[in-house]
């Protein structure tokens, strides 16, 4: 694993210090430029610079994330905004990934407390992300909430919980109340396992 990961203070994208270009701001230390939003870190908050910027090269920035650390994986940016908005009520850090491969990579590296993932993602299905994380001892503790607008009904819920080992399965559209409840469970370290009885043949 590389040890040069850091997150952008502006858009939360995960970047690799070794692969990113530097800005050309005059009179600055010429900081790295975020791969996604294109913003450099010259005007980053002092606290961010202290915690993250200075840690690059001295170890992974993941240790500087505030817990609980929550990773959102969805190719719909609207979902990212909605979830991030709900998460404003909680302490912690939010990371964003926009396809399955990127999401799995970040999850394996930073071991978030909670992964909220769409099921049907570009490159890798969200349920496969869950299976990968749950089958590896170093990430099996990560709580995973799968959301889906495509896979609906008891059959898919059952499959996601049993075969893919997700902790919760939520059908879109997801409500703020649902999200708050889920995050609240994680923040207060309450079990998040979906304990609702299985239903068969009817849509929950």
């Amino acid at each position: 694993m590389a040890s040069d990961l850091y997150y952008c203070f502006s858009c939360d994208a995960i970047n690799r210090a070794s692969q990113n270009r530097r800005c050309c701001c005059v009179g600055t230390e010429n900081t790295l430029v975020c791969e996604r939003c294109g913003r450099c870190f010259c005007d980053a908050p002092t606290n961010w610079k202290k915690n993250v910027w200075q840690s690059i090269g001295e170890g992974s920035a993941k240790e500087n994330y505030q817990r609980p650390l929550i990773l959102i994986i969805d190719d719909d940016r609207v979902i990212h905004s909605v979830v991030a908005r709900v998460l404003e009520d909680f302490r912690g850090s939010v990371l964003h990934a926009y396809d399955g491969v990127e999401g799995l990579r970040i999850a394996q590296e930073v071991k978030p407390d909670l992964v909220i993932t769409d099921c049907l993602l570009p490159l890798l299905d969200g349920r496969e992300i869950a299976r990968s994380l749950k089958s590896c001892p170093s990430t099996s503790h990560v709580c995973i909430v799968a959301i889906s607008g495509m896979y609906r009904g008891a059959r898919y819920r059952h499959e996601a919980l049993r075969d893919f080992a997700v902790d919760r399965f939520v059908e879109k559209p997801i409500s703020a109340a649902q999200l708050r409840s889920i995050i609240d469970d994680i923040v207060h370290l309450r079990p998040v396992k979906d304990t609702r009885p299985m239903q068969s043949g009817v849509r929950p």
């Binding site: 190719d75 609207v78 908005r85 607008g149």
Partner: protein
């Protein structure tokens, strides 16, 4: 009856999520419209190349985003494209154009000027109603 440009119930959900913050709902609509440009381009590219699997994926991507934001007409047209593509059936060019037209209507509705009144119910109705 045709599908609404923006579904009032979905917008109400968004307003609830935003706790009545109309500016945030507008921001979400803006994000949706911004990403829809790329998603529509992906649909056109997959359609043009005759790649059914890629077309189904591209249509599904825009479908999911449209359901979330309540863009019902876009969602239903994407759903039709996805189903045909998954079944290996040809997708008429006009259906792809219908997606573009539905998106144009969403953009027109979303950009409609609204007043400063922050009553969510009224704002929802305003946002959902196409300009005449």
């Amino acid at each position: 009856m045709s599908d609404p440009v923006l579904d009032v119930a979905a917008l109400r959900d968004l307003f609830e999520l935003a706790e009545g913050d109309e500016a945030f709902v507008r921001e979400l609509l803006s994000i949706y419209l911004e990403q829809s440009v790329k998603q529509l381009a992906s649909i056109r590219a997959a359609h043009g190349s005759g790649n059914s699997a890629a077309l189904a994926r591209a249509a599904h991507s825009l479908l999911g985003a449209s359901v979330n934001i309540g863009a019902s007409a876009v969602a239903e047209t994407c759903r039709a494209i996805e189903r045909r593509a998954l079944a290996g059936l040809p997708v008429p060019h006009t259906t792809v154009d219908e997606v573009a037209e539905a998106l144009r209507l969403v953009r027109a509705v979303a950009s409609a000027r609204v007043g400063s009144a922050a009553v969510p119910a009224a704002a929802v109705e305003r946002l959902a109603r196409p300009r005449s």
